[in-house]
């Protein structure tokens, strides 16, 4: 079983598409074939994004949707990585060019997953991978690597 640290774009793509590699990654975690590693930062960010797009909707619409989101996350059986400290973020900010991503990188460095999966290859680059020792890939690259 490999540990997979998922960036928020994987979660959002996985929850919005019926099929696709991001959904497949999450299904494999629910099936205990891989272990989902989830940063508290990513949880907060995805919740914030949902709340933002639900602004103006009635609570009758918003509440069941958020309930389903919590079940969706819970059933994928994540290990939660706590928020990074300011020192860890500062250290990560020296490695990643896009500073807003530093808290996510800091959480991944602390969790030491087998894989960090993100669709944002412009920010989570091969240079970031080399400097942190993290194996960073898109879901496609991940599946290509484990099913050569």
């Amino acid at each position: 079983m490999q540990t997979l640290f998922l960036d928020s774009n994987i979660l959002l793509e996985g929850m919005r598409s019926r099929w696709g590699l991001s959904k497949a990654v999450l299904s494999l975690c629910a099936a205990r074939i891989h272990q989902f590693v989830l940063a508290q930062h990513v949880i907060t960010e995805v919740e914030g994004a949902l709340i933002e797009v639900l602004q103006g909707e009635s609570t009758d619409e918003a509440e069941p949707l958020l309930d389903d989101y919590f079940t969706f996350i819970k059933k994928a059986r994540p290990i939660i990585v706590p928020l990074a400290t300011a020192q860890e973020i500062t250290a990560a900010s020296r490695i990643i060019h896009h500073l807003n991503d530093a808290p996510v990188l800091a959480a991944a460095i602390s969790a030491r997953p087998d894989w960090l999966l993100s669709n944002n290859t412009e920010h989570f680059t091969s240079t970031v991978a080399r400097r942190t020792g993290l194996r960073i890939a898109t879901p496609y690259e991940f599946f290509r690597a484990i099913h050569p």
């Binding site: 774009n9 598409s17 205990r32 960010e45 995805v46 994004a49 933002e52 059933k75 500073l99």
Partner: protein, 67 residues
């Protein structure tokens, strides 16, 4: 009289997958009904990520740039 304690059985992976799929399908349908696209979610997440450095950690981008 001796009381019997029933321990919760660990859930089976197949059941977890089925429940995950059911929640994912409901979630997707609700987002569909509200017309929320993947791009809407990704754009909203990018805005939240931009704010979080300051709101959650009390750090300013300018501070980190100067380090």
């Amino acid at each position: 009289m001796e009381k019997r304690v029933r321990r919760a059985r660990p859930s089976k992976p197949e059941n977890d997958v089925a429940e995950f799929d059911a929640a994912a399908t409901r979630l997707e349908k609700r987002l569909d009904k509200l017309g929320v696209t993947e791009k809407d979610l990704l754009d909203a997440a990018a805005k939240v990520r931009e704010r979080m450095l300051t709101e959650v950690y009390g750090l300013e981008v300018e501070e980190l740039v100067q380090l």
